[in-house]
């Protein structure tokens, strides 16, 4: 029998995942690792971790890793990439990290067209701290700091980071994907590979926003959380490629 699928070598074999059942961080991390291997970029890879659940894989990935302060991943990545342009630098951030506390760093790095990649994992809630309201929490969705649900009068509306960054001239590639079904998982991997390739070609800022679930803090079992993505999250956060300058270049 031919072996057609194997575990990525970028995840250490003797370590155990710290993610909750149904959490999609493990899926995204696997896809990042596979993309690095397939592009032969593992030895150039630097992951800049955000703070929160997005940092839970730091001790079992096998490539270089640095933990940024909450929200500062894009600033840290700027420092690394500018001084080591040959490295493949990506941030790995959740929605609280990228879109709330790090909003200035995120938008400014994108606006400067920094030549690194953002993997933005958006599940609409603060995971590690226990389910607080995030900038991307859906209207009506309950959070521990919004017990009656997100109320636009008090909390405003969900922030759409792909759309916001798409207003800037500098970003090269912006795509929103999900991991709620096998087809979308494959699309996410392809988007990550595309972003990494563009970076190595020196094209500039790239971001893949991945819509994921948080069964624990959504109060749903993992399968129902998949339904929630399809029925609630994706209508708010439509999937697709918002910007791909290579198409404009022909």
């Amino acid at each position: 029998m031919e072996k057609i699928y194997t575990r990525t070598k970028t995840i250490q074999e003797d370590k155990v995942s710290g993610f909750c059942p149904g959490c999609m961080h493990s899926t995204v991390i696997k896809l990042v690792g596979e993309a690095l291997e397939e592009l032969n970029l593992v030895d150039k890879a630097v992951c800049v971790q955000g703070i929160g659940c997005c940092g839970l894989h730091m001790d079992y990935i096998a490539y270089d890793d640095i933990t940024a302060a909450h929200g500062r991943a894009c600033a840290v990545a700027t420092g690394i990439k500018r001084t080591n342009p040959g490295s493949l630098v990506f941030t790995y951030q959740g929605d609280g990290d990228f879109a709330s506390i790090g909003l200035a760093e995120s938008v400014s790095a994108a606006n400067r067209g920094e030549n690194f990649t953002v993997i933005f994992v958006n599940n609409g809630i603060y995971g590690m701290t226990g389910g607080q309201l995030s900038p991307t929490t859906l209207v009506g969705m309950k959070a521990t700091t919004a017990p009656k649900g997100r109320d636009p009068k008090e909390h405003g509306y969900p922030m759409h980071m792909c759309e916001i960054l798409n207003e800037l001239k500098a970003p090269y590639y912006l795509e929103r994907t999900s991991c709620n079904n096998p087809a979308n998982v494959m699309k996410t991997k392809n988007a990550i590979k595309k972003a990494f390739q563009y970076q190595m070609e020196g094209k500039g800022f790239s971001m893949v926003e991945v819509i994921t679930s948080c069964p624990t803090n959504w109060g749903l079992d993992p399968l129902k959380a998949l339904d929630f993505i399809e029925e609630k999250m994706l209508p708010e956060y439509p999937l697709g490629c918002f910007r791909d300058r290579s198409k404009e270049e022909g």
Partner: protein, 359 residues
Amino acid sequence: MSRVFMKGTEAVAEAAVRAGCRFFAGYPITPQNEVPEYLSRRLPEVGGVFVQGESEVASVNMVYGAAAAGTRSMTSSSSPGIALKSEGVSYCASARIPMVYCNFARGGPGVGSIQPAQQDYLQATKASGNGGFRMPVLAPATVQEAVDMTYRAFDWADRDRTPVLILADGVIGTMMEPVVLPEMKSDEEVAAIKESKKKWACIGHPLDYAHRSWIEPGQWSTQKMQKCNEDAAALYRSWEKEAEAEEYQTEDAEIILTAYGISGRIAKSAVNLLRAEGIKAGLIRPKTVYPFPNYAYDKLDYGKVKAILDVEMSIPALFVEDVDMAVKGRCPIETCLCSGGNIMSRDAVIAAAKKIMEG
């Protein structure tokens, strides 16, 4: 090496370049804007990188990234901006990332005043961020010293993998003085410094679980976190022997003026004039305010010294707390203070010293 006439901020920036600094990120704030302005044109000339950050917070975190990737890196600011940098400095201290930053201090608290002050002493020496770390804090009294200390700071930072702070003030930053610049490190030397950090620098490594770069500004394991802090504490203790002070006319002194930075320079001038009037005055001016040069106060002959006069551009007095711990009650300590961006008056220092000697 020839002497040049330079402004403090620009001289510090040039000293950093000569020390091999190849990355600077900063944000405008008075009175240190010439540092980013100078480096924005100077760093590209030597293959370095300048980034104007979107904030002080972003800037210091860019430095954390560049330094963690092996490049000698620096940021600078002034008091309110230095407060914002505390986040990144704490991360560098925890992850043992070498970096250098400068505070051209101004009045405070809050937005304070844009004129020179020494109101940041406790922040600089006791708590430059969360988590109870220490770092070398060097306090220049002349532009020449600011240059020499900046040059040395990069070596100290690399040797011990620690942040190093240059605690200057608005006078040192905006004053022009003749200065001898240190030797420019060659491209080969700068490359060799970066190469020496390759093992731990976060730049990408061949797939190998044991030898990847993993920059950790914290630990999941409480045991590991305690061990990190024990190792750091041992490092801090090792710095005690590197404490330095200028001791001027202290041997027969009956009154000791003590001050750091620009106040120390003014106090030295006061000592000369007091001596001319027959008053046996001396000066202790710490050049490292952390580690603090307790030895200089231990060497005093407390049979002769009637009092110590603490001179600082801060109200309330802050530096006096370290002086108090060094003197250990062996003689009274008086203060001569100003604040709000006012520069210490030599006449006020002389009057305060005379009052003690006459009293």
